[in-house]
Each structure stands twice: as structure tokens, then as C-alpha cells.
Symmetry: C2
Subunit: 217 residues, 2 copies
């Protein structure tokens, strides 16, 4: 019984990692769709968000099963509870990719991103992908140091986010209000990726240490 | 033992309701701060978000205690797990109030909201408060019908949110890019209140029925 139980916990981790893979792919495709005004790619992100949601529902169901049939304690209990929250954060990241793809679709055949902001969004997309890959690694390795590193990637995203506003508020901005609204919203979605990734990383630290604030002790 | 256990579950519900009260107050104050450029009120929302976060941490701790020391099953298990998710949604609502207060503070002594959008934000604030009050009632009463009603309040918020964009994109818009960015972000925060409230309401339905999609059965 004990072995089947630990198999279930491992399957839970595998599913979380599978979620990070799906989300990374969605982020990658939505960034390309946004920059290249690729309608087909945008549609694929929108239609395939369902896969992320289904995986989330499966994780939730298996968590209830483990809770109801086993009595996880200590680190096992933290594994199960944090898995629920991690899955919720990853599901939200998938939603943001879908939102970005919808902006790409709405502006097609134009790109929602003017030339002078292209590099910034390329970089934001790259950071978002790196964060998600690291998130997956942290979930598997339970490496507390790596989890803490994620916070500095979040800082890099914040810097790019602030750069967006500087460009939008520059007197030379010639793309009007509609474009500014698109960029404000899309910029916010990229920033939220980083917030969710940090949230997962903090749950990894909590899972391992049993404390939300290990440095403060 | 059984009685102390149910006392703990009730205390959990009480804390969630207390969270809805704090969040409602934060939403109310942040809306006024935003519309009236009231710096003191904005500061009070920002400094008091800590209370919401502390309550969230307390709820989380007590959930772990109940999980580790009792073995909740069936509706009790759902009570505990959904409480964790509800608390997380309420905590996010508090964050949005804080974000709105920060926009108010940044634009002080001006109001971030031009006269022609004042009524729209008054209405968005009123809907947000109503949603949070209903959310608190649903948590206490476990009234599935009331929980489902919340979805239509969410529709009302969506309509107001779309109205914002119509005003921003109207040729008569004379307040420039910075104001458009503020309104885009603030509008999104109000819309998110509704999403989080709906999320809590769906958890109430799940808590009572044991199914995420009771209508589909």
C-alpha cells in the first residue's frame, strides 16, 4: 500500500512537470504568434489551452483521491497541498498565453507589437520560457537554491515591463491608444508569468523546508 | 475530539468571512481613493493589505493542522481544500485593491479617472463590493443557487469593462496615453475581482455538490 501511495505522489509530480511543458510550448507559440502576426499559431494556443485545463482537473482529482484514501503527513502532506497550488499557478500561466494569443488574433494581419518594441517582447518571451523551464526543474529536483534564483529572473521581467511604459509614454510614440492598450495588457500578462513562476518556486521552498520564510528563521 | 474538529472547520469558515469583510473594505476605500484622489485613503489600503495577507497565512496554517491531525473525508475534505483556494482568491482580490490604491497614489493630486469615466468606475466598484458581499454570504450559507447567480454579476462587470475600451478608443479621447494605460490596468483589476468572486462561488458549488459541473450531470 505504501508503495502504491508513493507512486501516486510521483505521478502527481510527473503531471505537474507535464503541465510546465505544455505551458512552455503555449508561451513560446503565443510569443511568436504575437510578434509575427501568425494566426494559425494563435489559434493553436487558444484551442490547446483545454489540454492544460484538463491536466489541472486530473491533478485536482488525484489530489482528492490521495487525501481521501491515504493520510499524508509532514512532507507528503506538503507535497499534495503545494501540488494543488502549483497546478493552479500553471493553469493561470496557460490562460495568460491564451490571452496573448487572442490579442495576436484580434490584430491579425497586423502585428500588435510595433517594431521598436519587438526586441523587448522577444526578451520577455525568452525570460518567461526560461522561468517555466526552471519551474519544472525545481518541481523535480526540489532544489531550494534554484527556486530562490527564480526571484532574480522575476526582477529582469520587471525591468523589461518598466521599459515598455517608458516607450509608451515617450513623446515619439506614434501608434495611438489602441496599440498602447494592447501593449499594456500583453505586458501585464508577461509580468504575471513571472509572478506565477515565483509563486511555484516559493511553494518548492515551503515543500522542502516546511517554512514559508526560511531565511527569516 | 469530533467536536473540537468541527469547531476548527467552523473557525475556518469564520476566517474566510472575515477575509471577505477586509477585502470589501479595501475595495470600497480604493475606489473612493481612485475617484477622489484621496491620498490618505490610498495609503490606508496599501498599508492594510498586510492584514489580508496575515489572515491568509493563518487560514493556511490552520488547514495544514486540520489535515495533519484529523483525517477529513467527503464534505469535510472539500471544506478544507476549497477553503485554501477561496482564501487564495480573496488574497488576490486584496492585492488588486492595493494595485488600484497605488494608481490613485501615483496620480495624486489628480484623479486617475477623467470625469467621463467616473460613473463607469463608480458602478464597477459597486459591483465589485456586491460580488464580495455575496461571496461571503455563499461561504456561510453554502447556497448553490446564490453561488450560481454570481456569474451574472460577472457579466455586468464584463459589460462595463468593454464600455471602458469604447470610451478609450473614441476619437474624442483627450487624456492621452498615460491616462489610457492607467484605465486599462485599473479596469483589468476590477474585472479580476469578478473572476475571483466567480471562482470562489464555483468552489462553493463544488463543496456542496462534490461536482465541478453539477448542471452537466
Amino acid at each position: 500500500m505504501r508503495d502504491a501511495y508513493h507512486d501516486e505522489l510521483e505521478a502527481l509530480t510527473d503531471r505537474l512537470v507535464e503541465m510546465t511543458r505544455l505551458v512552455r510550448s503555449a508561451v513560446s507559440r503565443s510569443t511568436t504568434a504575437l510578434l509575427d502576426a501568425d494566426l494559425q499559431l494563435a489559434e493553436s494556443v487558444i484551442s490547446r489551452d483545454e489540454e492544460v485545463n484538463r491536466l489541472y482537473a486530473e491533478i485536482e482529482t488525484s489530489i482528492y483521491e490521495v487525501m481521501a484514501t491515504q493520510q499524508p503527513v509532514a512532507v507528503d502532506l506538503r507535497t499534495v497541498i503545494t501540488a494543488l497550488r502549483m497546478a493552479s499557478n500553471l493553469e493561470r500561466m496557460g490562460d495568460h498565453a491564451e490571452h496573448i494569443a487572442k490579442v495576436a488574433r484580434m490584430r491579425h494581419p497586423e502585428s500588435a507589437i510595433p517594431a521598436e518594441l519587438r526586441d523587448t517582447f522577444v526578451e520577455m518571451g525568452a525570460i518567461a520560457e526560461r522561468l517555466i523551464v526552471k519551474t519544472g526543474s525545481c518541481i523535480v529536483s526540489r532544489d531550494v537554491e534554484m527556486a530562490k534564483e527564480l526571484e532574480s529572473d522575476d526582477d529582469a521581467m520587471d525591468r523589461l515591463h518598466r521599459r515598455l511604459f517608458r516607450v509608451l509614454l515617450d513623446k515619439g510614440w506614434s501608434h495611438g491608444i489602441e496599440s498602447a492598450i494592447d501593449i499594456t495588457l500583453v505586458g501585464r500578462y508577461y509580468e504575471r508569468y513571472a509572478d506565477h513562476a515565483v509563486s511555484v518556486a516559493r511553494d518548492v521552498v515551503y515543500l522542502v523546508t516546511g517554512s514559508r520564510y526560511p531565511d527569516a528563521e
